[in-house]
């Protein structure tokens, strides 16, 4: 049984005067125990919304799914109180911007300790009055079990001088340190799953490497599964065991990391891989996927990628199919279901060769931003 099993997730945001925004349009995603699963997509693909839907942190949105199970239990059948028990305890979350995601007027140690108090099995009161007393009057005693556990966690995530750092405020720390604090905070309740929403996007490449290593270590040594949301294929290559690729609200491909990079099936995936500049390569143009991702209200029928796909044909207007390429590798593309021979689903002759190339950390899958005047031509690499 998968740790997290979501089938046919649809998230709609009602809009006052205009059509509702369907941010997620039929997404399946699963995270197995003991793995790091990457969720890759451009901005606007719906990956963050998907992540937040697991924690039920989407206020005002309409969330529907055929299945939304965590550990076999339907998350959306639970009451708000039950969800509160799960958040922070069973499932932890790490956010992208650590400076704004941490409370500026509380010490870092306290922000971790309160999670321990609320969800861990420490013998400390976590009621409203005691929390307020701790916040405004006495502070948390350094001998309290929750504080000591917080210091331990800081050490676990690789922070030097954890006891000192625990007494500091977020603005006094570096970006990398803050991100580690966020991870420690997510670990406070001893969760089985951590959702990391672009945890390294705001960091330098070298700092990023450290954080990714940390996440890998947590997964391997502490038996924490991770759902890692990113737009960076490099991160996926380095850290993830398996991947789901999203585009404009739908899943395009799902595979193990190796399968995705070695044998990409979907034209979009191929396009992404092709856009990745090879480390050190200076010849050839930077190629991108021409055009830009459609707004949720302007999606074409059928496959959202139709308008930019070089291999699009009439069947692409039909609802997305599911095609199994291999064990654990599936793609949603009409080329595979409508045609006996999907043919050379390539962007250009050298696509396959590129797909084998080594992708280093820090390289980003680029596509045209909406608003850029004109896309670059598709040329031979």
């Amino acid at each position: 049984m998968s740790l997290l099993d979501v089938e046919n997730l649809r998230v709609t945001f009602p809009v006052d005067d205009g059509p509702d925004v369907r941010a997620v349009d039929g997404v399946d995603i699963a995270v197995e125990s003991g793995e790091i699963h990457g969720l890759v997509g451009e901005s606007g693909s719906g990956k963050s919304v998907t992540a937040r839907s697991v924690m039920r942190l989407l206020d005002g949105a309409v969330v529907e799914a055929d299945r939304f199970d965590y550990r076999g239990e339907d998350l959306y059948a639970k009451s708000e109180a039950e969800m509160r028990a799960i958040r922070g305890d069973d499932i932890g979350m790490v956010f992208q911007d650590s400076m704004s995601a941490l409370n500026p007027v509380m010490t870092v140690g306290e922000q971790i300790a309160e999670v321990v108090r609320h969800h861990g099995d420490v013998d400390e009161s976590a009621g409203l009055l005691s929390e307020l007393r701790r916040k405004f009057v006495t502070g948390t005693s350094e001998t309290a079990p929750s504080w000591r556990r917080a210091v331990e966690l800081l050490e676990t995530v690789g922070i030097a001088d954890p006891a000192d750092v625990a007494t500091t405020y977020p603005h006094q720390l570096s970006g990398g340190q803050r991100q580690r604090v966020m991870i420690a905070q997510a670990l406070g309740g001893d969760p089985s799953l951590i959702i990391a929403d672009e945890p390294t996007t705001a960091l330098d490449v070298t700092v990023e490497a450290g954080i990714l290593d940390e996440l890998r270590r947590l997964c391997d040594e502490m038996d924490v599964s991770i759902l890692l949301i990113t737009h960076d294929l490099g991160v996926v290559a380095e850290t993830c065991d398996s991947v789901t690729v999203m585009y404009s609200g739908s899943v395009m491909e799902r595979a193990s990391t190796e399968q995705l990079f070695q044998h990409p099936a979907h034209p979009y995936t191929k396009g992404l891989l092709r856009s990745v500049p090879e480390g050190g390569a200076t010849d050839g143009e930077l190629t991108t996927i021409p055009g830009s991702a459609p707004e949720p209200t302007e999606r074409p029928d059928g496959c959202p990628f139709r308008d930019r796909c070089p291999a699009a044909f009439e069947a692409c207007a039909d609802p997305l199919p599911e095609h199994v390429v291999d064990a654990g590798h599936a793609t949603r593309c009409h080329l595979y279901t409508e045609r006996d021979d999907p043919g050379e689903v390539t962007w250009d002759a050298d696509a396959d060769a590129d797909a084998d190339a080594d992708i280093g950390a820090g390289v980003t899958a680029t596509t045209d931003d909406p608003g850029e005047p004109s896309p670059t031509e598709v040329t031979d690499g």
Binding site: R84, D89, A101, E114, L128, Q172
Partner: protein, 319 residues
Amino acid sequence: MGIQRYVAKRTLQALLVVYVVATTVFVAVRSIPGDPARLILGGDADADAIAAVRAELGLDQPMYVQYARWMGDLVRGDLGESIFTGEPVASRIIGAAEPTLSIGLVGISIAILIAIPAGIVSATRRDQWEDYAATGVAFLGISMPSFWIGIVLLLTVGTAIPAIPSYGYTPISEGIVPWLANVILPATAVGLPYAGIITRMTRSSMLEVLGEDYMQTARAKGLPPRVILFKHGLQNALLPVVTVAGILFALLLGGIVAVEMVFGVQGFGRLLIRSIERQDFPIVQGSVIVISIIFVFMNLFVDLLYMSINPKIKYGGEA
């Protein structure tokens, strides 16, 4: 180290401002048309008497000598004597201080105790009836002159409830309850506009905080809603309110003075107005300087308070 330097710098600035005020007052008083000595003695005094009074007041000295004496006296706390009663100005002011301070402090307390919870409720129940009610009352509050509120209270509560006197002042020495009963109406009149502003500021600040990322993090940690609101949100929301609260003391000032007139309280405000009417310059001078000093140091205090509750300032930058 940064903090001490900052405090020292601000204190110096405050003293500088007070100095400027004192000088301005000096100049202003001496610009008043007419001869103060003649004013004191009346129109038909003879030249010798006038000369004597002028000598007594030091008005025959060159300006810079007068100025030096003035400053010297000030620093020693000697504000001169009242033209009419001969009493030292300083003691007259101190004597009139208790009622004014009572009204002011009780007014501010009432305002804060009501306004901040009202603002929080307004923000958390946005666009529901609680919000409309609180915002409506707040708007009304900031649109009413304090003295008019006082008059209305006097005519309604004051006449309807005999236990609440609508005139005068009862010193604390005669008991807390009588004191409070006498002070409550003027204090409410003074506090209501202040409360209005604080409510609106708290509301908008709280709304902003509620949308911040760290509040979502707190939710993601599974904390109960009230812990999130009060432990995570409140302090952040109150920071801007503290800043503004200090600036608004100026608003209270006019209110207290006027309210004292309405309720016949023999306080500092009344003293000030009467002295202006009677052209009792030493008292006017002294009062202006005292008000200035209080005001400037009040603002300094609020600034320091803000610094102490905002860790970003208290603890500096990256380690």
